[in-house]
C-alpha cells in the first residue's frame, strides 16, 4: 500500500509526487489520461515572479523559483533562466510598474526608454521604459511534468514513485472520517493520504470527497508562429496590462500581449482570459487581438506566420490563490490545485509544501492563505 495517491499527472501532481518520494514516502500518481494531458499540456511554461503582487502568492513564487533552479540540473525540460521584461506604454504606467517592483522586493532593474533596445532590439519604439526581472524563467511544461516523475522514480526507486496513466478516480475510500484511498475504474488503491492535483478538475475531485473547493476554468488561447532561425525575442516580454488582467475579476474577454521565443524555434504569443466554461470552439476575434498586440510590441512579427493556435483552461479560484494543504473537512485529503495561470511556476513550491505536510513537518511557508476551507464563510 502506497503512502500517498496523487490524482493528476500534470506538473503540480508531478512535483507533489517528486517531493513526497524525496521525503521517503511511497507514491502512486494516477491520471485518467496521459502524463501532462490537461492544462499543463496547454501552457506556455511560465516561471514568473514579476507578475505577482506582494503577498502569499509572491512568497510561493519566490520559493518555487529557487526550487526550479535546483530541479533544472536534471535538464531535459528546456529550463531557460532568461528573465522577463515588462514594458510600459506611458510614463504614468512606468511609475506604477516601478512602484510595484519596489514593493515586491524582487530582484529587478528599471529600464529607461532608451535602454530597452539593449534588452530587445526588435521592440517597437515609443515605450516609456520598463522593468527587467532576471529571475523570470521558462520551462517546457509537458517535459517538465514527465521528467519530474521519471527523475523521482530513477532517484528514489521505481517502487517508491509509480505513474499509472489511463486510471480514472471514481470516488474515495474512507477509514472512519479519514480519507484512506481512492476507488478507480481499475480497482481500489488504499493509501495513507490522497493529494488532489487535478488542476481545473480539482473541484470535481473534491466534490467526490464531499467537500466544496471552487475551481473554475478560465480559457486562454496561445498563438504559435513558424520556427525562427535567429531568435527575434530574447526574454519573456509583456505589457503592464498583463499584471492587471491576471488579477482581474472580469467575466469578459481580456487580452494582453505576452511574447517569447522557445528553444525549438517558434514564438509563443499569449495571453487571453475568458470565462466561458470548457468551450473549445475557436474564437477568431481572440486570435486577431493576440496577433495585433504582439505586432504592436514587435513590428517584425507582422511578416511571420502563425501556424497553429491552441487553448487551455486555467484553474482559478474566486480569490485567485491556489488551494494548498490538508482539508480539515476530509482529513487525509490534501489539495494542490487552483493555480490559475501560474501552475507551472508554482508547482515545485506546491509539491515541496505538500510533501512537508504529508511527512508531518512544519511547512516552510504559512499555508493559511491557501487553506481549502477558506471559501466556506462566503457560501
Amino acid at each position: 500500500m502506497p503512502d500517498v495517491v496523487v490524482i493528476g499527472a500534470g506538473v503540480v501532481g508531478a512535483a507533489c509526487a517528486y517531493y513526497a518520494a524525496r521525503a521517503g514516502l511511497d507514491v502512486v500518481v494516477v491520471d485518467r489520461g496521459p502524463v501532462a494531458g490537461g492544462t499543463t499540456g496547454a501552457g506556455e511554461g511560465n516561471v514568473l515572479v514579476s507578475d505577482k503582487e506582494p503577498g502569499p502568492e509572491l512568497d510561493l513564487a519566490l520559493l518555487s523559483n529557487g526550487l526550479w533552479r535546483e530541479l533544472a540540473e536534471f535538464d531535459g525540460f528546456e529550463f531557460e533562466p532568461k528573465g522577463g521584461l515588462v514594458v510600459a506604454e506611458t510614463g504614468e504606467v512606468l511609475e506604477a510598474l516601478t512602484g510595484l517592483a519596489g514593493k515586491q522586493g524582487v530582484e529587478h532593474t528599471v529600464v529607461p526608454s532608451g535602454g530597452l533596445d539593449d534588452y530587445e532590439p526588435h521592440l517597437a519604439q515609443g515605450f516609456a521604459g520598463g522593468v527587467f526581472y532576471p529571475q523570470d524563467a521558462q520551462v517546457q511544461p509537458m517535459l517538465a511534468a514527465a521528467r519530474l516523475i521519471r527523475r523521482g522514480a530513477d532517484r528514489f526507486g521505481r517502487g517508491t514513485l509509480m505513474l499509472r496513466t489511463g486510471v480514472t478516480v471514481t470516488g474515495f475510500l474512507r477509514d472512519g472520517d479519514r480519507i484512506g484511498g481512492v476507488t478507480t475504474d481499475h480497482g481500489d488503491i488504499l493509501a495513507g493520504a490522497v493529494v488532489n492535483a487535478a488542476g481545473t478538475w480539482g473541484g470535481e475531485v473534491a466534490a467526490m470527497a464531499g467537500v466544496h473547493v471552487p475551481v473554475l476554468p478560465r480559457r486562454g488561447f496561445i498563438l504559435v508562429t513558424e520556427p525562427f532561425d535567429e531568435p527575434l525575442i530574447r526574454h519573456k516580454v509583456y505589457t503592464a496590462a498583463y499584471v492587471t488582467n491576471v488579477a482581474s475579476d472580469s467575466e469578459g474577454l481580456e487580452t494582453s500581449a505576452v511574447v517569447e521565443g522557445t528553444p525549438s524555434g517558434p514564438v509563443l504569443i499569449g495571453a487571453s482570459r475568458e470565462r466561458v466554461g470548457f468551450d473549445r470552439t475557436v474564437s477568431v476575434p481572440v486570435l486577431e487581438r493576440l496577433a495585433r498586440q504582439a505586432v504592436e510590441l514587435f513590428p517584425a512579427l507582422a511578416d511571420r506566420r502563425a501556424i497553429r493556435a491552441y487553448c487551455g483552461f486555467r484553474p482559478y479560484c474566486p480569490d485567485h490563490l491556489p488551494v494548498i494543504g490538508e482539508d480539515p473537512r476530509a482529513p487525509g485529503l490534501h489539495h494542490a490545485c487552483g493555480h490559475e495561470g501560474a501552475g507551472i511556476g508554482l508547482a515545485p513550491a506546491t509539491g515541496h509544501l505538500i510533501a512537508q505536510t504529508l511527512a508531518g513537518h512544519r511547512p516552510d511557508l504559512d499555508l493559511t492563505p491557501f487553506r481549502p476551507d477558506r471559501f466556506e464563510e462566503r457560501r
Binding site: A9, G33, P34, V35, A36, G37, G41, M142, L143, A146, R147, I149, R150, L163, T165, G166, F221, L223, T225, E226, P227, S264, P266, I269, R280, T281, V282, V284, L287, E288, A291, R292, A294, V295, L301, A302, D303, R304, R305, A306, I307, R308, A309, Y310, C311
Partner: protein, 457 residues
C-alpha cells in the same frame, strides 16, 4: 449584418462544383472558394493531355462533364480561386469564411453566407519508412503533380508502391508519359479487387484499362510486396522491396534500382474546417475520422453540409453525387422548391457501399511499424525519429496528442498532415479528428488587420 451569399462552397473539385451548380440551379446565390489557381481539385487538376488520350473512356467523359459544369457555374456564381481558407465560424445563422487571397502577396478576405458546403477533399496518406525523406521519394499525389508539370522524362526509373486502387492510374499515367516504371508493389493482395464481387461489378472496366496500359509497357504488378526502405547518398538510387506476410511483416527482400519512388497508403480526409465549426465526426471503415452526415449530406451543425472525401474517401464519382445531393439539401433548407430525387440517393448508397468495400479490401496492416529503425524520422518537419516517439511513450504519453506534446511530431509546418496517421498508429489508436484552429499559416500582420470582403480593395 446580412450575409452576402446564400451558400458558400469550399473546394472546387467534383463535389464542390456539382454542389455549387446544383444549388445555383435551385435558385441560391452561390460563391465557390478554392485554394488552387485552377479548378478540379486533386482528381481533375492533375490530368495532363497525354494521359487523357490513353485513358479509358469513362475518365475522359468525366473530365468533359466536369469542364462543362465548371463553365456553366462560372456564368452563374461567384468563383474565388487562389483563396486559401484558414478559418470558418458560424454565429446567428451566418457562416463567416476567412481566406487568404493570392500566393506570395497574400491578402486577407472574408466571405459571409447563410449556408456552407464543405468539399475539401483528401490528401495523401504516407507511412514513414527508412529513407522516405530522401529526394526522389514522392507521394502518389506528388507523382501526379510531376506528371502535370511534365517533369517526367523518358528513361526516368520509377517504382510505385503502397496500397489501394489509386496506385494503378498513377503507374499507368507515369508509364504512358514515358517513364520506365520498374514495378508496382501493392502491399495487400493484388487479387483483392477481383475477389470482391461488388468491386468486380463496379469498376472492372477501369481496372482492366490500367492493367492493359501496364501490360503494354511490361510493368510488373505484384501483390503482397512493399518498399520497406529507400537508399541513396544525396538522392534516391535504389529501394528495398520486400515480400510480405498477411500482417505486412517482411518475408524476403531484394533491391530495385530507381531514381523515383511514388507511394501512398490511402488518403486522409481534410477535416479541419468542419472540426472548427464543431461538426460531429465518426470513424470510417479504415479508422479515419470523417464528417457525420445524414441522407441529405447535412452535418450536425445547422446550415453546414459536407460532400466528397470529407464524408468518407470514395472517389470522384461518389463525390459528384454527394455534391448534388448537398446542393439540393441546402436549397431546400433555405426554402427553395426542390423535388425529391430518390434515384440520386440510391446511387449514392451504391457508390458508398463500393467505397467502403474498397477501404476494407486495402487496409493498412500493423506490420509496417516493423520496417522502421530507431533513427527513422516519423515527423519530417520537426525531424522526430522513432526513438523520440518511443521515449515519450515511456515517459507516460499514452495517446497521440501527448506524444506530440512531449516529442513534437506534428508541431511543424504541415501540422501533422503527413505524420498524423503514423503517429496515431504508433500510439495504438485511430487518428483523431484534427483540431487546427488555424487551417493555413497566416501572417501575423494579416491576422491583426481588419478583414475585407473579396470585392473591396
Amino acid at each position: 449584418m446580412k450575409p452576402r451569399y446564400d451558400l458558400a462552397v469550399i473546394g472546387a473539385g467534383p463535389a464542390g462544383v456539382a454542389g455549387a451548380l446544383t444549388a445555383s440551379f435551385a435558385g441560391l446565390d452561390v460563391v465557390l472558394i478554392d485554394a488552387a489557381p485552377r479548378p478540379g481539385g486533386q482528381y481533375f487538376r492533375h490530368l495532363p493531355q497525354g494521359f487523357n488520350a490513353q485513358a479509358p473512356g469513362a475518365l475522359h467523359h468525366g473530365l468533359d462533364g466536369f469542364t462543362r459544369q465548371w463553365e456553366t457555374l462560372r456564368a452563374r456564381a461567384d468563383v474565388l480561386l487562389g483563396h486559401k481558407v484558414w478559418a470558418v465560424e458560424r454565429a446567428e445563422g451566418t457562416v463567416t469564411v476567412r481566406c487568404l487571397e493570392g500566393d506570395r502577396e497574400e491578402r486577407p478576405r472574408t466571405v459571409t453566407a447563410r449556408g456552407l458546403l464543405i468539399a475539401t477533399g483528401a490528401h495523401d496518406r504516407p507511412l514513414p519508412f527508412p529513407g522516405w525523406d530522401l529526394p526522389g521519394v514522392l507521394t502518389a499525389g506528388g507523382a501526379q503533380a510531376l506528371l502535370k508539370g511534365n517533369l517526367v522524362v523518358a528513361g526516368r526509373k520509377v517504382v510505385v508502391a503502397g496500397t489501394g486502387p489509386f496506385l494503378l492510374p498513377v503507374a499507368a499515367g507515369l508509364a504512358g508519359a514515358g517513364a520506365d516504371v520498374r514495378g508496382v508493389y501493392e502491399a495487400n493482395g493484388r487479387l483483392g479487387l477481383a475477389r470482391h464481387p461488388l468491386l468486380a461489378a463496379g469498376k472492372a472496366g477501369e481496372a482492366l484499362g490500367y492493367g492493359a496500359t501496364l501490360a503494354r509497357h511490361r510493368v510488373p504488378y505484384r501483390g503482397r510486396h512493399a518498399v520497406i526502405a529507400a537508399h541513396g547518398e544525396d538522392a534516391l538510387t535504389h529501394v528495398t522491396v520486400a515480400r510480405l506476410d498477411s500482417a505486412w511483416r517482411p518475408v524476403s527482400t531484394r533491391t530495385v534500382e530507381c531514381d523515383t519512388l511514388a507511394y501512398g497508403y490511402g488518403f486522409v480526409p481534410q477535416l479541419e474546417l468542419p472540426v472548427q465549426l464543431g461538426c460531429a465526426t465518426r470513424a470510417d471503415a479504415d479508422g479515419s475520422p470523417v464528417v457525420t452526415v445524414d441522407g441529405g449530406l447535412r452535418t450536425s451543425v445547422p446550415g453546414v453540409y459536407a460532400a466528397g472525401e470529407s464524408t468518407g474517401v470514395g472517389g470522384a464519382v461518389l463525390a459528384e453525387v454527394e455534391g448534388r445531393i448537398a446542393g439540393r439539401s441546402a436549397a431546400a433548407d433555405l426554402g427553395r422548391r426542390v423535388p425529391p430525387l430518390p434515384r440520386l440517393s440510391r446511387r449514392r448508397e451504391r457508390l458508398a457501399a463500393f467505397a467502403k468495400a474498397l477501404l476494407e479490401a486495402y487496409p493498412v496492416r500493423p506490420g509496417w511499424q516493423g520496417w522502421l529503425r530507431d533513427d527513422t524520422l516519423v515527423c519530417r518537419c520537426e525531424e522526430v525519429p522513432l526513438s523520440a516517439v518511443r521515449e515519450a511513450q515511456d515517459l507516460g504519453a499514452t495517446d497521440a496528442r501527448s506524444v506530440k506534446l512531449l516529442a513534437r511530431p506534428g508541431m511543424g509546418w504541415c501540422q501533422g498532415r503527413m505524420c498524423g496517421y503514423a503517429v496515431a498508429c504508433l500510439a495504438g489508436e485511430d487518428p483523431a479528428a484534427p483540431r487546427r484552429p488555424i487551417a493555413q499559416p497566416i501572417r501575423l500582420g494579416d491576422l491583426a488587420a481588419p478583414t475585407r470582403s473579396p470585392l473591396e480593395g
